[in-house]
């Protein structure tokens, strides 16, 4: 019914391109270190989750964003706890990049009462308003208009907070994206739409689902500033997000970032799902792995002598063991009590 069409994203969607180390010359070293640390933390945590799934410890569907870490880390560089961030089914990184609680996330993924959602949500239903994470739920596209409403509230508050909606290229096929873009544009709502275009929705390549691979065209059609960028370049993401978030804070309304990226794992779970779409194959996957956002930043920092290989290795080891300890603690945490089944149906339980 459909055939591969020419890419409008060009090199942004071509794994053979843009795999060089980043240009870090003009960036403050501390910032680079923070980006590296945050991306690495997210990667390691999701690797732990992948292992949990393989071992049968995590039973809820887990959608891993391994390979996509730069998007949330770059955007979150400009966010504050008073902002209102919403995600979807693949939102571990969206939460963690805000400085989210690692143990709370891990416990949640195992369905334990210590989790950020008290074990009622699992991987796909996260909330932690202390860091500005207002909720992720797995129904595709669901939180896009909810984020717009949170932005409307920010506008009414008049204090410069912004809302952020993370969604995927698949979600851009739900009509509600367009209703949301129109509301945001018409009412001048401070909301940043962040589309992680990883070129796939489940098993289908975007070429099988849309006449163009460039999602930013929808922001343009609704007359909000829209950019398509390399989502595997954390510096490019941060650079793109900064002025758009600043504008929104200043009362100048919504914007859209399309961050082109790729997931290393399959749609759900730890496997790699090769050969499911038109293009996704071992070759494509291997090419995209060369465009790994963490490696590109680390290589640049090593080349610029901002850290030594040994220091990097030590840092990684430290993070791994810290996370392993939290994971172990989560594995031992209690499940929600039976009363939880009815306690949270309505408001009123302790918040």
């Amino acid at each position: 019914m459909s055939a591969l069409r020419g890419s409008e994203l060009g090199s942004l969607a071509d794994p053979a391109e843009l795999s060089a180390a980043l240009d870090v010359r003009r960036e403050p070293p501390l910032r680079l270190l923070r980006f590296l640390r945050d991306m690495l933390r997210i990667r390691i945590i999701e690797e732990v989750v992948a292992e949990w799934v393989e071992r049968g410890l995590a039973r809820a569907p887990c959608h891993l964003g391994i390979g996509q870490e730069a998007v949330a880390v770059g955007v979150s560089a400009h966010l504050e706890p008073r902002d209102r961030v919403f995600g979807g089914h693949r939102s571990h990184a969206h939460y963690l990049a805000l400085g989210g609680d690692v143990y709370g996330l891990l416990a949640e993924i195992l369905g334990r009462h210590d989790g950020v959602s008290r074990g009622m949500g699992g991987s796909m239903h996260l909330v932690d308003r202390a860091v500005g994470f207002h909720g992720s739920v797995p129904l595709v596209g669901a939180t896009i208009p909810i984020a717009v409403g949170a932005g409307l509230a920010a506008k009414m508050d008049g204090e410069g907070a912004v809302a952020v909606s993370y969604f995927g290229d698949g979600a851009s096929e739900e009509g509600v994206l367009h209703e949301s873009l129109n509301l945001a544009a018409t009412f001048g709502i401070p909301v940043l739409f962040v589309c992680e275009n990883n070129l796939y929705s489940s098993h289908l390549d975007i070429a099988q689902r849309q006449p163009s691979d460039r999602v930013a065209r929808f922001g343009e059609a609704h007359r909000i500033p829209s950019v398509s960028i390399d989502g595997n370049d954390v510096l490019a993401v941060a650079r793109a997000a900064q002025p758009l978030i600043a504008r929104a804070r200043a009362g100048e309304g919504a914007a859209l970032i399309e961050a082109v990226t790729y997931r290393h794992r399959g749609h759900v779970g730890p496997k790699e799902d090769v050969d499911v779409g038109l293009r996704r194959s071992l070759d494509e996957l291997a090419a995209w792995k060369r465009r790994d956002p963490i490696r590109r930043l680390a290589d640049a920092m090593l080349a610029a002598n901002l850290m030594t290989p040994a220091a990097f290795a030590a840092h990684e080891r430290a993070q791994r063991s810290e996370i392993a300890a939290l994971a172990q603690r989560a594995e031992a945490a209690p499940y929600p009590p039976q009363s939880a089944l009815l306690d949270y149906v309505f408001a009123g339980a302790a918040r």
């Binding site: 009622m120 669901a142 409403g149 009414m156």
Partner: protein
Amino acid sequence: MSEPRSTSYGDAIRQGFEYLMSTNPKVFAIGQGLWSPWYVGSSMTDLDRKFGRERVIDTPVSELACTAAAIGASLCGYRPIVVHPRMDFMLLAVDPIVNQAAKWSHMLGGRVAPALTVRAIVNRGGEQGAQHSQSLHAWFAHVPGLRVVMPSTARDARDLLIASVLCDDPVLYIDDRWLYERSEPLPEVRERDLRSEGCARRRLGGDITLVGAGYSAYLCEQAAEQLAGLGVDCEVIDARVINPLDEATILESCSRTRALCVVDGGWRPAGFASEVLAIVAEQLGPSALRAAPLRITLPSAPAPTSRALEQSYYPTAETVVRAVAKQLGVGVAA
């Protein structure tokens, strides 16, 4: 002392908005037609002038996003009221209501609940036809996590609107254009906790319990008056909040009258009337009633347009009178 002035149901809704918006800066209204002089009847006239178009927001034709946006605002401390001038069109927004709002608190471990009110107007008759007539209250009564309110009197129209908006849970508030002219003198507003609002006994009687919600409760009251003339002493229960339903009041009444007729402006299968019959059967057991309980509902057809058919489609007080009289073996002039 002068006669207390009577307030219509439509105006009472407007007063509810007025009370809420004057006393609570976090309340706002959003929906189609809110700047129109005719869209929602008398129920919101000039609210945009009084409170400003930032708080009374007329919207594009985007039911889904507008409803979901209200969820988002409610998560950030606001108390939005989303207005759907017709419940039929609200079906485009079932996802935010049922999949999001109703489940939000539960699926996120009670960390936050969306305190939004969705106002759905039942607007039927007038040859508007099948897509402009539905009352799907039973659907929403089926869904855990949602409170569903159906006022039948002017006072409830105002006070239950206020209670809905002040409630921390998502509430579906359903009003009916056929009630907009129903009037009564209104006392001062008293803020109520929606969680403790249940059925109201509109009329005491010993022969049969009539149960209805919204416009159907009004039909029950009218039918009860006519039936009194035939010597049938009806008890009338106005359900008011159909989810969660105050079963106790209905059960108590039925165990006394030992007869039941539910009037329901929705369809029959798996409807609100079915639920009331089921509760009574299940809780009171066999032999609790003297006669088979009755359901008076719409026929199993979409709403027609042509007036000739509309007239037979919608139950009236007379429909109720005839059915009850027949069931209880009382004579009624044809």
